[in-house]
Amino acid sequence: MPTVIPHPTASTATAAAPQRLEGYNFAYLDEQTKRMIRRALLKAVAVPGYQVPFGSREMPLPYGWGTGGIQVTAAVIGPDDTLKVIDQGADDTTNAVNIRRFFAKTAGVATTDRTVDASIIQTRHRIPETPLTEDQILVYQVPIPEPLRQLEPREAETRKMHALEEYGVMHVSLYEDIAKFGRITKSYNYPVRVNGRYVMAPSPIPKFDNPKMDRMPALQLFGAGREKRLYAVPPYTEVKSLDFEDHPFEVETWEQDCALCGAGDSYLDEVIVDDKGTRMFVCSDSDYCRERREAGHQGDGGPA
């Protein structure tokens, strides 16, 4: 009997509520904190890919759950915005549900799980498959904002390397991969160069998503709460994945299509469906998958 994967079928969008949670400022943060974050965001946009330090606040959720992204969203969001939150592409995971509920309560904003309806999309580790527009802002949750950190642990040194545009060590690390394995093995958080200047960590999105960052019409903002850094990629800005002429950047491909919607162009999650190791592949972007199924597309249903 084919196993049914619980995938969202109905929208969980909520309307804007004029009644906000009592005792909290709009969108939780106090105004002085918002001003500080807003000033940092303006400088981040002016220097694409550069990590601006900011006074990250303690948030009512632990580090690693999107404290940076939440603070960016709180500083940017207004009562007329519609918020979508995804975690690994899905709107219905714990992290996404809670962050969406947090802003529904503290800001009274409308929420949605449809990419096209959102004005702000906060994301953990994916970029939606549906192309974003000029009217949208994409907010990334970032664990380690410093792309050079694995290679150079000292902040004073990495700051100097960025200042001097000294990125040789990053290329050496990619080269070592090729020397050892015959290819660049980095599959997520794949380093990019922004506007030909700063090397930037795209956050742990799969490298499949890297090409979507290049000249994206939407504004991209990044927040790292524990590391206290913000950065940004303005719209229509060149974002190039690092590579070599003889080893050009490539994205993942799958032999299968999505078992639910039959998509052959989306990022697929591998799902184990029984204790004999039977697998099926489904879209990681749950909204994209649902919209395709609603439009009549159908996959092969996975292993019988």
């Binding site: 400022n25 709009f26 105004e31 002085q32 918002k34 001003r35 500080m36 807003r38 000033r39 940092a40 965001l41 303006l42 400088k43 981040a44 946009v45 002016a46 220097v47 694409p48 550069y50 601006v52 330090p53 500083a75 940017v76 969001i77 207004g78 009562p79 000029e134 700051r159 100097k160 960025h162 200042a163 001097l164 506007n195 200047r197 700063y198 000249r215 019409p217 504004l219 940004a232 990629v233 303005p234 719209p235 229509y236 800005t237």
Partner: protein, 201 residues
């Protein structure tokens, strides 16, 4: 009796209006040359424009030293900024986080803080009050935030400014960022924007 100064009111709803002004500035900075509007309602003391007053109310506070061009300094403007923003007013442009100037009183761009290669965000954001802003005209803008090219007309800027701007742009990642204000209308030139002067395409 001591002299009293008429301090004009700030935002009616500081939380919501600050957010609206910030989004307008963020959009302007992210799409150089696209004109945004701040909400209506402010009546700042002359000669402070609505846009520059809104900018300060939304973004300036005790952490941001503000420099005012001599033409904008009077007891009413100083009292307005000190009372609503609580920002220190500084005498030297290079120690300012924000600078407000009219087109005529804008000092050389390199007199402001430029930031450093390691800390480029420490440069001054310069708000320039101009007579008018139009999304067409002699200035052709290219760079991050712009799909192909944006057109902008900023009457009243001194003729040498495009050359100064080019020098500023070459300092990247250092350099000042400009916010142009005409009444309620706002456009921005981040340091990454290339400005060339030429007729319409």
């Amino acid at each position: 009796m001591a002299d009293t100064i008429d301090i004009r009111p700030g935002f009616a709803d500081p939380v919501i209006e600050s957010q609206q002004v910030f989004r307008a500035v963020l959009d302007a900075m992210a799409r150089p040359g696209r004109i945004q509007s701040v909400p209506d309602g402010l009546t700042p003391p002359a000669p402070l424009a609505v846009g520059s007053a809104a900018f300060c109310l939304a973004l300036a506070d005790h952490d941001t030293p503000v420099w005012l061009a001599p033409g904008l300094r009077n007891p009413a403007t100083l009292a307005f900024l000190r009372f609503h923003c609580g920002c220190p007013i500084v005498e030297e442009p290079e120690s300012a986080a924000f600078a407000i100037a009219d087109a005529a009183g804008l000092p050389a761009l390199d007199s402001f803080a430029m930031g450093s290669d390691a800390w480029p965000e420490t440069s001054t954001t310069v708000v320039v009050q101009v007579d008018d802003l139009q999304e067409r005209g002699p200035l052709r803008l290219t760079g991050p935030g712009i799909e192909t090219a944006h057109r902008l007309s900023v009457p009243g800027l001194r003729p040498g400014l495009p050359d100064e701007w080019e020098a500023n742009r070459k300092l990247f990642p250092c350099g000042v960022d400009l916010v142009l204000v005409a009444g309620r209308r706002i456009a921005a030139l981040p340091r990454t924007t290339t400005v060339t002067v030429g007729a319409e395409d």
